[in-house]
């Protein structure tokens, strides 16, 4: 089902008698029932004011179209959303609704915030077929309970997004990346911490153990970038040999999309931890491959098919999401981090009220 308007979508939901999968371009690989409501019929940018740094678009608008419109004005989505197609082997056209529903952010998340931090407002259809709005299109808004954040990262389980408004930012004039040769995860996290603790506004900090280098990115006006890059070199000197990377845009796109894992078999997990815990946590996973982003705070893990990574992880401060595996493994491990009883009570209560008939992406999040 592919409604053309919000009203049509709302009527469709009100008449549903069976669960549905909610999809934009279908590139995030969530699975679910065969019956699908796809938002790609709602595909317009409804408002774009570069001088106010705001963009409002219908949920099914292709991400590429939005990025193109922003580029024409020298702006961008600051949270650098990743493209899952290469990693998950999906096809299709990513939509802005999908990005928001899954709260997809990339390397710049550590400085610019996650998708949810730049999300100013939403319109969605709830499980009863009602159109609800929350937030708006202004940067500061504390009017009532913030359902905007709740909808971001709810993976369609609370409602079907129909329109989102986002804060956008100027595209930096220049970008530079330093690569530091480090002996292992401990050294890498130390080097990245030192960079992120500096006043030089590092907005990318990733480490690829196979490559043996930690990457640190600085962006802004040209003169400022060269000044800060120079200063950062002196901060990083003690951690290893430093070189400047030239193809910085390609490098960060590949890190964002976890390119080093692409084309390899196995299950893929995504773990969010306190950066300083990353070396210990990753060491107990016996992984085939690791990739660290967010200064160590985000660990990508590739393990043999069916590995019980949750058992290897044990109790830890953070959360692990199973991003790629066969249906049986997903069923056994659960895609999302198991919740404590207290949290489960709250999230279950919210789901029952937002989607009382349990028709939106049932079972996806618990």
């Amino acid at each position: 089902m592919k409604p053309k308007t919000e009203t049509e979508l709302a009527e469709m939901v009100a008449g549903l008698s069976h669960p549905v999968r909610i999809a934009g371009g279908g590139t995030r690989g969530i699975g679910g029932p065969d019956a699908t409501i796809q938002t790609t019929g709602l595909g317009d940018i409804t408002l774009y004011e570069p001088g106010a740094l705001t963009l409002v678009a219908q949920a099914g608008t292709p991400l590429a179209e939005i990025e193109e419109a922003l580029k024409a004005e020298g702006q961008q989505l600051p949270f650098e959303p990743m493209d899952h197609r290469g990693l998950l082997g999906t096809v299709g056209e990513p939509t802005i609704g999908g990005v928001v529903a899954a709260n997809i952010s990339g390397p710049r998340r550590i400085q610019a915030g996650a998708c949810r931090d730049l999300l100013l407002g939403v319109r969605y259809v709830d499980g009863k077929g009602q159109v609800i709005k929350n937030g708006g299109r202004v940067m500061k808004n504390v009017t009532g309970i913030d359902l905007v954040k709740l909808m971001a990262g709810s993976w369609g389980t609370l409602g079907i997004l129909t329109e989102v408004s986002l804060k956008v930012l100027p595209k930096p004039e220049a970008s530079a990346t330093l690569a530091v040769q480090v002996p292992g995860a401990v050294g890498a996290v130390k080097a990245m911490s030192a960079a992120l603790k500096s006043p030089f506004e590092v907005n990318g900090a990733a480490y690829d153990p196979q490559d043996g280098r930690a990457f640190l990115r600085i962006e802004g006006f040209s003169d400022s970038v060269s000044y800060r890059t120079d200063r950062l070199k002196s901060v990083l000197g003690e951690f290893g040999e430093i070189a400047e990377v030239t193809d910085t845009a390609d490098l960060w796109r590949d890190l964002r999309d976890v390119k080093p894992f692409q084309g390899h078999d196995g299950d893929i997990w995504r773990i969010s931890v306190k950066p300083g815990d990353a070396p210990d946590v990753s060491a107990r996973l016996a992984a085939d491959q690791l990739l660290f982003d967010w200064g160590g705070g985000l660990i990508w893990v590739r393990v043999p098919q069916g590995t019980d990574l949750r058992a290897r992880l044990g109790a830890f401060d953070g959360h692990a999401t199973l991003m790629r595996a066969d249906a049986q493994t997903i069923e056994a491990m659960g895609r999302f981090q198991p919740e404590t009883t207290a949290i489960k009570t709250l999230t279950k209560g919210l789901r029952q009220r937002f989607d009382p008939h349990g028709i939106f992406n049932p079972g996806l999040m618990g």
Binding site: K149, G153, S193
Partner: protein, 482 residues
Amino acid sequence: MDMPSPNPDILRRREAVLQQLLQVLPKDAVIHDPAETLAYECDALTAYKCPPMLAVLPETTEQVSDVLRICHAEGVPVVPRGSGTSLAGGALPTADSIILGVSRMNDVLEADYDNRFIRVQTGRTNLSVTGAMEEEDFFYAPDPSSQLACAIGGNIAMNSGGAHCLKYGVTTNNLMGVTMVMMDGSVVEIGGAHLDAGGLDLLGVICGSEGQLGVVTEATLRILRKPEDARPVLIGFDDNEVAGHCVSDIIKSGILPVAIEFMDTLCIKTCENFAKAGYPDCTALLIIEVEGSKAEIDYQLSKIVEIAKRHNPVEIRESKSAEESAKIWLGRKSAFGAVGQMNDYMCLDGTIPVSSLPEVLRRINEMSDEYGLLVGNVFHAGDGNMHPLILFDANKPGDLEKCEAFGADILRLCVDVGGCLTGEHGVGVEKRDLMSHQYAPQDLEAQMMVKDVFDPGWLLNPAKVFPLDASASRREVRLAAE
């Protein structure tokens, strides 16, 4: 502004509730003498007052839990309170409620610079969070004007902003985790030193929920390394509209200042008389601050000046030193005080799309003539968060009501141009009844459903945020159950 009448049944049980509280709290943490509970009769919105039945000042999460468990069992409403600096009546009690103040819980629990977070108890004041990190040159970014006094707990409740949130975001963008006590006394941990939620983003719902969902006792906050330096430029214009265009052009140019502040004629004159900051005699004044190394600041300021010059400014004053910076900021930072010394005033907090600035300012001035009340405008121009100050005479019968009506008209205007009722102060009781102008009944219902989940008995901070008629059936269910 109406509040529901106190429940006589609760008032009758005052003594019994007091005795139970004394069993779980130190004696000096329970305030019951009417002469002392009077201290909690209002917050910074002093137009509305009502002493609570009792006030408690717990020192630990466990004590907060004990208090809430007792109040839950007894059906007593609880009004959480940080430092009582809310401008929206967020901590205004009802006569049958208990004020739960977190002011004695003000410890720093952990400061971790390598992992860039600090964990504090929520009674700690905003400025003293940064104060605790002075030696390491770190800071906590949200900086509400009341930062010397306001508590982190209140900041979380109201999702507070400040002058510098154009670059660093508001509280919700800097909050990583909370320890929260639910109304039934149970304690939940949400988030922590890692980023983003593993499931639904409950932290995002809690931040800005105005004490409707639980009492946050501990918070993990994102901290940042201080920039090398910061300096402002002051630019005067003879026309509000032109100043608005200048703001828009600066933002479009790719510069991201940490702050863009705007003052109109009345505020410029009042601040100048008060603070002698040397402000030019003009219609609109911008103060724009940028950060970085000396060379970076020079570069950004020169770009800003270049853009400003295209708009025929009457004055441009680039700060060259810390002394000059302080002088430029002096007037702006004393704006509320300066106006307050001159007159009674009501401070509004509506936010508008930046592009609507000229139109909204023009309409406010027209309304000012219609109501016969003066209004000064000082606001965060970069993000469209306005703070119109309506002047009135509290001793003149009918003036407060006229001022309230004028304020409501301005806020409705903010909503009508695509903005919202409140950018950083919160709804509280002040804007509660205007919520129906911004939200349709089903939108409010969706928000109230969240409260149903967290606080099924509707005991936490009752009769706030949602229009009384919208929340009536839920609050009555609570009364009927008792």
